[in-house]
Symmetry: C2
Subunit: 245 residues, 2 copies
């Protein structure tokens, strides 16, 4: 039976979603170990988004196949019991058809990037925000962001190691909201290139600090050259909030 699991995790202590060299813990490894401990089955977990080291999730989605029958409550609670004390939790476990694939069936991925824009360092939100001391002009960043909405060649915002076949992506939503001393970047697309959100945020901060004009974002996009866009924002401000099917 195929299961869809919705996950929340604090990416801080992990090397990222994907299993890497032994001895460094990935979210994938932690989850596979917990599933094996509860079910006595060795499963491979497939995720909608392979988040980087330090990147968080409120709504990561994965699928697994289990041969024995379980209730939804048992799958959720038993995996959570074996995940303790790691900061990973199964929010929901739902049986799905064999055609469901967490990665390839996904039609929408939503991310939120949070900047804490104030002089004082973060305390309650340490590890969950990017701390930017210089005041950021939100209206200017919105003008810059507007150039990125829709379908474009995002080569300028793509990590060197990105393995996607095409650099063409479509941003369906890109909102920038202020909440007190926080600035939230809310971005949705069917899929993203590696580091795309963090490279976009790092570039828009150049606009927010008035080092770049909003139209320089368009020039960077049109260049189709990673060296023409801004730096990569740090991982800790990024959360995979939702995957739609």
């Amino acid at each position: 039976m195929r299961w869809k699991l919705t996950l929340e995790y604090d990416g801080g202590p992990f090397v990222g979603w994907q299993r890497q060299e032994p001895g460094r813990l990935s979210v994938q490894q932690a989850l596979e170990d917990a599933i094996a401990a509860f079910s006595n089955e060795t499963v491979a977990v497939t995720a909608a988004g392979r988040t980087d080291s330090g990147v968080h999730a409120e709504g990561q989605v994965v699928h697994i196949d289990l041969t024995r029958d379980w209730t939804e409550k048992t799958v959720r609670d038993a995996i959570n019991a074996h995940l303790r004390p790691l900061p990973v939790a199964v929010l929901r476990a739902e049986p799905v058809s064999d055609e469901f694939n967490a990665r390839f069936s996904a039609r929408l991925r939503a991310y939120r990037y949070t900047i804490l824009n104030r002089a004082a360092p973060p305390t309650l939100e340490a590890g969950k925000v990017w701390h930017c001391v210089a005041p950021l002009d939100i209206d200017a960043m919105r003008l810059g962001a507007a150039h990125l909405l829709g379908q474009h060649d995002f080569s300028s915002f793509r990590a060197a190691d990105c393995q996607a076949k095409s650099p063409i992506r479509t941003l369906d939503r890109f909102d920038i909201e202020q909440q007190g001393d926080k600035i939230l970047f809310i971005i949705e697309a069917r899929s993203f290139l590696h580091h795309q959100v963090r490279n976009i945020v790092g570039t828009l901060v150049l606009v927010g600090r008035a080092r770049w004009h909003a139209d320089d974002v368009k020039r960077a996009l049109d260049a189709c050259d990673r060296t023409q866009a801004g730096p990569t924002a740090p991982p800790e401000g990024l959360v995979l909030t939702r995957v739609g099917y």
Copy 2:
């Protein structure tokens, strides 16, 4: 010159606001040490709310007296530099008149208590919420809370070691809001008894779980007897959000 400092802190690693036995770090001690390190002056810090161990603050207010002249920016940034890497930060430093007293001039204290009401344990908000697995009836809790609004003898919700002269307090605001799988209790009063908010939340959870009827809150209040109210909610869900003058 007298200064008003507005503080944010994660109460997790501290024994609470107040200095206690040596070797166990209080927020007060951390702040006094940082002020001494930057100013070379030994100061006593007076706070609006003496938060318990594990209780957080987004808007604690304290006052200090410094003999030398400094700019607001220097006071804020220099104390923050010396507080690192502790999760305490000065959000604002403002010169005030000598009549200002962070504790005795305060006319309003606002707290927020957050319950995470779901089966899965907290990950991103670990240490910042009270995890309650059983579903809570928010409307029933609101009916219970309504009995506590206004001026009452709160002896039933007062810690045994509370040093206040009178058990009479006036709750000016008590709202219960749902945000996704979180339930927020927002409470304002001129001042609170020791453990008052946590004892109220612990009691309302009995109502939320249908172990108590909403009117049992009124009976507990009228009894003026701590043994007649519910248990004390854990500290990690509580935040001192604001102090008004």
